[in-house]
């Protein structure tokens, strides 16, 4: 890359995978110069290498050569009886390599966010479901409803990219309405209200099913809700969006998500409406899509020779690890450096982001590059239909997850 060159990159760090982020690259260092991600502060720091010494592999927290780390990891793997692979986020080729490894060593493979995946998947596994994607929402919706409280904090660019962009193909943006159901940050709401047509209905998320049921009934409603009912009934393309973790504290998250989907199905009898869940901050969609085409199951698979089986309870990695039904956990985490919780009663190999932090030090730490920064790769966006190409913009010698997993599998022996 030419010195001081400016270029656009695709961000690997949240499920929107924005590709309009401009960076200036100089001698393998880069500076983000785009204004549009200033609200994504928690993501920007993932780009940075804090300290070059972190590039080293470590055994029991002591620096060691990369080759020795791989050799030691292979020894540990060969001495283990039950290996569990926990995916905290990697690209398509990373997932492919995990599955290849799992087939060689009869492992369980799980994604750390599987419980959220199953909440959304539950709808299509039980009943009907109408879905839409980011660009459809941007160009066709006249009403967008967000359920939750943290959805905009987690994906701030939903506003400027999707809900209130500068241009929309088929709808008048001035009349587009955003309805917020839940406990949204008051200051942000106020700010949005000054620019756009936004209404905030502070509700207990547990009441979502009841409120939606009322809105679709002929019952008399409060003035506020009556206004919403009119908006909904007039809408021509309504989009409902949520992020499943926002329902963590609710009594029955599955029921709430199901009620939103039912509400959308009902609207489709006479008009058009669709769901668009926002999920995948740990490359969840990349994992579930790739696992589905290779194994038939989106997560939680146990390999056994040529065959494998799936059971979302038996193959729950968190349960397996906390019950010590495994003697070696291999954690793979390349899209952030969030704190990873390890169990000190079993062996732990960590393959991941150089700045990762832990409750206890892993037995073996093998740093790998970030897809989209240190190596090329593919990741899926939240809508599960668009996958993006992530480019390499920095050369620091870090290998990809695929490279490392293949070394551990002995693919290149």
């Amino acid at each position: 890359m030419k010195p001081n060159s400016k270029r656009y990159i695709t961000c690997p760090f949240c499920s929107l995978h924005c590709d309009d982020i401009q960076v200036e690259v100089n001698n393998n260092k880069f500076k983000i110069i785009s204004e549009n991600i200033k609200d994504c502060t928690s993501k920007i720091e993932y780009f940075n290498i804090k300290n070059s010494s972190n590039l080293s592999a470590r055994i029991s927290n002591k620096k060691i050569s990369f080759k020795k780390a791989i050799d030691s990891a292979r020894k540990m793997i060969n001495n283990s009886n039950d290996i569990t692979l926990v995916n905290h986020g990697t690209d398509v080729n990373g997932v492919r390599s995990l599955l290849n490894f799992a087939a060689n060593y009869n492992c369980v493979v799980d994604h750390v966010n599987s419980k959220y995946l199953y909440r959304n998947l539950g709808i299509i596994q039980r009943k009907g479901y109408m879905a839409t994607s980011l660009t459809e929402t941007r160009n066709r919706s006249d009403v967008v409803i967000l359920f939750g409280n943290n959805i905009l904090k987690k994906s701030p660019r939903l506003i400027d990219k999707v809900i209130f962009p500068k241009h929309s193909l088929c709808t008048n943006l001035k009349s587009r309405k955003l309805l917020l159901f839940g406990d949204f940050d008051a200051r942000s709401v106020k700010k949005m209200k000054s620019k756009y047509r936004v209404e905030h209905f502070k509700i207990d998320l547990n009441d979502t099913p009841e409120i939606l049921s009322k809105l679709m009934s002929e019952d008399k409603l409060t003035k506020n809700l009556e206004g919403i009912r009119k908006t909904i009934k007039k809408s021509k393309y309504l989009v409902a969006s949520w992020t499943t973790s926002d329902f963590d504290k609710c009594n029955d998250p599955d029921y709430i998500i199901s009620s939103i989907s039912d509400f959308i199905l009902l609207l489709n009898k006479t008009s058009r409406a669709a769901c668009m869940p926002i999920a995948g901050s740990l490359a969840d969609a990349t994992s579930s899509q790739t696992m589905s085409w290779i194994t038939g199951f989106p997560s939680r698979v146990k390999f056994n020779g040529k065959s494998f089986f799936h059971d979302r309870n038996i193959c729950n990695s968190q349960e397996i690890i906390s019950n010590q039904n495994t003697d070696l956990a291999i954690h793979i985490s390349t899209v952030n450096h969030n704190k990873v919780t390890l169990n000190d009663k079993i062996k732990n190999i960590f393959i991941g982001h150089i700045n990762s932090t832990f409750n206890i030090k892993p037995d073996i730490f093998i740093p790998v590059g970030n897809p989209g920064i240190d190596h090329r790769g593919i990741m899926f966006r939240t809508d599960n239909v668009v996958s993006v190409l992530l480019d390499k913009i920095r050369e620091n010698g870090l290998l990809s997850t695929q490279d490392v997993m293949n070394m551990l599998s002995g693919v290149h022996d």
Partner: protein, 551 residues
């Protein structure tokens, strides 16, 4: 490495060879003439009691992309098929590995995904790259995307539209263009629930006829070998044969391929307002020069329907079995719908659909114009092809099956009166040579000199047709024996077949602005380069030639 297939009965329709006993020579992945063999023969396969054909080609099978993965996830409870040494995935929504294994074991060496959304191309190719053994390719969906409809609405020149079509083929690494329910998927996003061939869409004010006319012209002008691949308007609707005929006319004598035509051959006569219009459709097929079709035969049992036709899938979701389904609007590009379905041999409608498909096959005079498909998995899984071939080749077997259907079905079909039995020659044409020809695969579907050594060797001693086609003794892919006596002996990975017509780069400027203004990704991210195909997605590409230079 030289291989000799010694003394087999050879069927090679492209070279006009039918049942002739001869030797076939292979060198480094290619078939070569005897006089070109250099050095010693390294391996001889005794084929004296064998029948040799080119590897089979499935030109319409849903094997990759978002909708297939939705089906896999939706129907998790059906993944309990442990009977065959593969993984447990259901054959109606198999894993990529199982897809490759089952195809190669049946002697299929190339398969084409017919509904590849350009915006979803990266996923579809990534999935297909994980299918072992076979070559693959995709048909890019156009005709419901807002950019195209906007061009048509603004009366853009045919030349500009040709640039767009050519760009899409290059950017999505596809080999053909398909249109599904022309304009209908887009109209559904504006809440239209049906769109007839001469009905204007509410928002763009464009008829399906116009879309067909423009796209068939674009493909002809660009010299793309495969004609426009059309899933017609009103799929599955009683009386839809009229829409099908109007769609044929919309092409204005330019080449057109109608897909899963069984689903488009329905009349609305009789006491149940549902009847066979196979004779009417076959009449058009036989008399229209540039018309080809694949059948989309249905098979009784559980399957899952997956289609870009979200309008029709939403309409049909009430028939879902098990009772769950999904429809999606996708990126101002297209849509999709996944609806599981069980075809029952006790049902009048399903029974008649089965008979209609067979009627279409048996009334088609020219096997070069009709292709054997079940629209996997929409009509049934591809593993039912050997059974379907037996239905076509064995009249008494066919009639026995027909007599098991409800009397009402038998009264509404002419099937029993059709005495035709397909010959081995005709089956070879419709499953090998004809698909290769219609897709422009010059090196496939033939055992001629310098063709790809994709070869299926059948055991002549197998007297049951279904057993014969289900269990070839050897399958050779790219010159390597990959199946021997039904067992996989070699794992290899095929290529992605593409075509790259030329276009004026100016279209990228126009489209780039459109993406900047309306999309949520950049045009650069939409395009898939050859380098990405090979080094990130994981499949080498083979670029096939266009028929002629752009007109």
């Amino acid at each position: 490495m030289n291989i000799k297939l010694q003394g087999g009965k050879v069927y090679d329709p492209i070279n006009n060879v039918y049942g002739k006993r001869m030797d076939v020579y292979i060198n480094d992945g290619k078939i070569i003439k005897k006089n070109k063999v250099k050095g010693k023969i390294n391996k001889v396969i005794d084929c004296r009691d064998k029948i040799i054909m080119p590897g089979a080609i499935d030109m319409h099978t849903h094997i990759g992309g978002g909708k297939v993965n939705i089906a896999r996830m939706m129907l998790e409870e059906l993944h309990h098929d442990h009977n065959d040494g593969c993984d447990s995935s259901a054959i109606i929504a198999p894993t990529t590995i199982k897809t490759g294994l089952k195809y190669i074991q049946m002697g299929y060496t190339s398969c084409f995904e017919p509904a590849l959304l350009p915006i979803n191309a990266r996923q579809a190719h990534s999935e297909m790259a994980d299918i072992p053994f076979v070559d693959k390719g995709g048909y890019a969906l156009l005709g419901n995307d807002d950019f195209f409809l906007d061009l048509v609405k603004k009366k853009a020149s045919q030349s500009l539209i040709n640039d767009y079509v050519a760009f899409i083929l290059n950017a999505s690494q596809c080999i053909g263009i398909k249109v599904v329910n022309p304009g209908g998927i887009n109209a559904f996003k504006f809440n239209q629930r049906a769109l007839n061939v001469d009905e204007k869409s509410n928002y763009y004010d464009i008829t399906p006829r116009t879309i067909i006319k423009i796209l068939t012209r674009a493909i002809y002008d660009l010299g793309i070998p495969h004609p426009l691949h059309v899933h017609c308007s009103n799929l599955g609707v009683a009386g839809n044969y009229l829409s099908t005929i109007e769609t044929i006319k919309a092409a204005e004598s330019l080449p057109i391929h109608l897909t899963h035509i069984q689903f488009q051959s329905y009349g609305n006569n009789g006491d149940r307002s549902f009847s066979s219009a196979a004779p009417e459709i076959s009449h058009y097929l036989n008399k229209t020069k540039n018309l080809t079709c694949d059948v989309g035969q249905i098979m009784f049992g559980q399957t899952v329907t997956m289609s870009g036709d979200s309008m029709s899938q939403h309409k049909n979701h009430h028939h879902a079995h098990p009772d769950k389904w999904m429809c999606m609007d996708i990126e101002c590009d297209a849509g999709c719908g996944v609806v599981p379905f069980r075809y029952s041999d006790k049902s009048f409608i399903n029974g008649l659909q089965w008979a209609i498909g067979l009627e279409v096959f048996l009334l088609a005079k020219d096997p070069w114009k009709v292709f054997l498909t079940t629209d996997h998995p929409n009509g049934g899984p591809f593993t039912s092809y050997p059974h379907l071939i037996k239905l076509l080749m064995d009249r008494s077997f066919r009639n026995d099956m027909f007599e098991k259907l409800p009397k009402s079905v038998q009264e509404h079909s002419i099937l029993k009166s059709l005495k035709r039995e397909y010959t081995l020659k005709e089956i070879c044409i419709m499953t090998r040579s004809a698909p290769a020809k219609i897709l422009g695969l010059k090196n496939k579907g033939s055992l001629g000199d310098d063709c790809d050594a994709d070869i299926t060797i059948y055991d002549q001693n197998k007297k049951d047709v279904e057993d014969f086609f289900a269990n070839p003794s050897h399958v050779i892919k790219d010159g390597k024996v990959v199946v021997k006596n039904g067992k996989i002996v070699n794992y290899i990975w095929g290529k992605t077949q593409t075509v790259k017509p030329e276009y004026d780069a100016g279209i990228e400027k126009i489209l780039g602005k459109f993406f900047e203004k309306y999309h949520t990704m950049k045009l650069d991210n939409f395009k898939i380069s050859d380098d990405e195909m090979t080094n990130v997605i994981g499949s080498e590409i083979k670029v096939n030639e266009c028929i002629h230079k752009r007109k």
